[in-house]
Symmetry: C2
Subunit: 617 residues, 2 copies
Amino acid sequence: MVGNDSSAWSQDETIRILIASDIHLGYLEEHPVRGEDSFIAFEETLSLAVQYDVDLVLLGGDLFHHAKPSLNCIYKCTEIVRKYCFGDKPVSIELLSDQTVNFSRSVNYEDPNLNVSYPILSIHGNHDDPVGREGISSLDILSTGGLVNYFGKWTDYTHVRISPVLLQKGATKLALYGLSHLKDQRLSRLFQEKKVEMLRDEEHDWFNILVLHQNRAEDRGAGNFIKEDELPKFLDLVVWGHEHDCELFDMKGSSEKNHFNVIQPGSTVATSLAAGEARPKHCALLQIHKTDFILTAVPLKTVRPFIFKTVVLSEHNLGDENVNESEKVQDFLKEKVNEAIVEAKSLLSGDPRQPTMPLIRISVFYEREDQIFNRARFGQNFSGIVANSNDILLLKRERKIRERRQGQGDEINVADYVADSTNVETLLQSYYEAMPPERRLAALPVQLMTEAVRDYTLKQNEDILRHVLEAHRRRCITTLLESNTDTEIEAIADRLRVLRDEIDSADITQLAALKAPPVSEQIVVEGSSDEEVQVEMEVTGRGRGRGSRGGRGSRARGSRARGRGREEAAPPASPVVAPTERRSTPRRSAAQRSATWIHNLASKAHRRDSSDIDDSE
Amino acid sequence: MVGNDSSAWSQDETIRILIASDIHLGYLEEHPVRGEDSFIAFEETLSLAVQYDVDLVLLGGDLFHHAKPSLNCIYKCTEIVRKYCFGDKPVSIELLSDQTVNFSRSVNYEDPNLNVSYPILSIHGNHDDPVGREGISSLDILSTGGLVNYFGKWTDYTHVRISPVLLQKGATKLALYGLSHLKDQRLSRLFQEKKVEMLRDEEHDWFNILVLHQNRAEDRGAGNFIKEDELPKFLDLVVWGHEHDCELFDMKGSSEKNHFNVIQPGSTVATSLAAGEARPKHCALLQIHKTDFILTAVPLKTVRPFIFKTVVLSEHNLGDENVNESEKVQDFLKEKVNEAIVEAKSLLSGDPRQPTMPLIRISVFYEREDQIFNRARFGQNFSGIVANSNDILLLKRERKIRERRQGQGDEINVADYVADSTNVETLLQSYYEAMPPERRLAALPVQLMTEAVRDYTLKQNEDILRHVLEAHRRRCITTLLESNTDTEIEAIADRLRVLRDEIDSADITQLAALKAPPVSEQIVVEGSSDEEVQVEMEVTGRGRGRGSRGGRGSRARGSRARGRGREEAAPPASPVVAPTERRSTPRRSAAQRSATWIHNLASKAHRRDSSDIDDSE
């Protein structure tokens, strides 16, 4: 694996690919300060494609933040693509496979009416997947406009069969397997059941790449992520989208080995103020020569500086007198923010396109109610100085976390599960499991409920709960009637009555609980967008430093060390996670999820057609 | 003007233009039967451009029905444009003027990265004008994607200054003046004040065309349409968008005359079930050779057949017995519908792309309440046979109209004004004028209110009323304070109090009246869309047969004669309007406008940024 030297490779036989993912165009586009961030990073990404003179650009999904992007967002995206990807430079990779099999329409660089010099190939993610009766994705718009080559769309949840895009440049042959986002639990089950098929030509030496957009982190809940060891061994590289933490390591290798490497580009814009998003952001340059490759992490220079810190108040001496505790805490935290502002200056790349006003997030553990204060008023001190001045602080009660560990009787408080869960799937799972048997859902599968709630929140589909519950009720009744022909009528009727009551109350009581978490559990809604929720977790310095889930809730292992500048640290040679300020306290996971936003979202406009909701098992 | 013969013209010096307007892509796109209509007509239009091998396609605005088209709509539009307008055929007209002055970006057929063979030039209409903080129109999306050349955008309401697109083909020189939609009242005033300027090069012989998208019909209310005689005399042709009735006559002419001809292409899809929309629909082929031109109306063959009839029940013998009057009426009307269905078959062009299930509208005048019935149930008889089966009938009470003419005391009933008005402007004007002086609006200009209500309805801007009233209140107070420095403080305070009360109550009482018309005034909401309202008017057979206003309410003079087929009638040699079935009754205008839809619309998603609302006088 050592010794690959691209200078010895014939350029005519070396495929050069710029890889990026999770660009989230349109994220916070109405924000007065941060509105341009996603577009600036996208423009830098494509400018790097030109600078490195690549053969193609490969995107790992979530090019758009919203399933229905605004006109302004489509407009800006189009402008940027036309500026960088069109031109006279010939594309020197040959497409060998059937375009109609892989792509939504014929490839733009082979279109005689378009002059494309840097073709973009993209799968869709969970944010830009197809919507509406016709199942049109924002990528379809770009595809039909000749701007992007959209591949890897798959809608059948009974099996997956991926036919690769076959590309050739001289003696180098690349088989590119694309799989756009599918629901993690469904896809995970298909992998377990060996129902994911990747077509192969075993006669020739292909360099095999899979690009997908799924949960990778293992703690997303059982069956809710894709296990690496279930992916086929013949792959040489896997490009993993969806996870927002950048995990890229310069590496050299060849396909003469037993297992693949994973490229996780991460997002190009922070869509949550979690520790993982504060890690330096990159694209990747992949060079392939026959069956050897060289991967180079390319730091992005236009990303807004972001400093993340954790502060445990009990570990600090805030002053002798106990009067006006809240004032003391505020003064202390102002100092911390000012330190972070100074620190953020070390992250400036000198690129004139880079926004300079930093993002600052201080995660604060407090002990007593008299220590808290109005966060918005606190933020006013940093208006015009910090880009997210209105939500710099995330306040968490330390004592409460300890108490919960010791158990507090039988009362089930959904807020406890909110605090402990990294995502809506584990939240519902643990919530239902904790219920006394007589209150557990008997007829309604937790998974069904989970998917419904996720679609309700992520896709702003107001009707989904009603649809799912109604469909499930019909199915239950049908099953009961069919399978119990010998049972007495009265028994069936009794069961139906129970089922009906259960289902009728399910959508009200469960959601009501979600909608009204106690005030003491902090609800954090990011920036001016009500579409983003932050979930955050501190763990030990061990682990792989992976796992932010942008857009819907982020989780990250390890936070950036204080004073560690981006230039000196990027790109990391190995996945080292620096120690945090919070060393002496027991390291506990602490997560929050806002639930009121579920309701806020419901009142939003972007309805989603429910026809693509498959509620069958 | 006679004797122009294109066969004698050199093709190298003849500019050929296909002209169409009001294509309204996405109109009723979710409708199970009519969803494709707008796209089919657009595709036919562009196929005609190829068939006639034109130099360019000129569109008169409202290419899209919605200011924020769905992804599916943009997708289909893009597919169609790429299918017909891209290719190797060279474009042989030369652009002489500065592209950056006229167009939103450089012209697609001069872009070295695009192969365009049939360039589309378009202004925007009132349906596809810019939205949002950034003022991005759906045409900007197409423009930046290289699909359409968007020109004539103007946002300054203090003056208009149009610089023409200068095109040349051999000795033929074309100056094309584009003016995208502006609010009619504002633009009309600018014309009166001589503040509309069209730049000219008087040294050379240019053939001068103006394309605009405004009210043309004179009965839209004072100052609410553009007067032809205020347009500059140097123009040779005016292409008039926005009016949905097709008014095209084959003609030959030259620019050596005193006044211009007007080309009114009309819409390519019926967006209301008004008589005017039932007229045969066309594009126009314009050939220009030096200063001579030939205009040819080209019938569209893919437009869904539409039969419009008026029935006055008192003129028909429905049977002797007076029992079960409602049944007799229904049987009679079923017969009428069946006649119309037969008649619609004569409108089939034989083109396989043409939808065959017809649109039928019977406008029924009844006398007594016992004659009415459930329209939806009536429509079920024609489900699967008539495309608009759920709203075939429009029921109007004949007696009521007569009574209203004789006056009924002092009580002001907004419904009367709804019934008599062709649009929201005249409705509000006459409503306010009819009020007793003590209830009239003193401080709030009717025009301000009118524009606010129009934006509220058409652009689905929920906040507009609040914004306008608030801005006006501020202005009133400022003016009062500034102008009355010598007046006693108490007098000012009194006036302010009155103003405040007036304004505070204005948005509630006026709108409340609009929202609740009496049930006996029929409210017609077209098809499955709640975005369209029908306003309809019968007048004498005189007049120019002009004036449908698609999308927001349509009005038409004259209805299609019974049994008059499209093939034999199209295109009309002169604007003859056939007599209707309703000959013996006094000819009165009768119009309806649904007002409840105002509320329905308010709950819709498409919010419009209010920043473009200029509430100054």
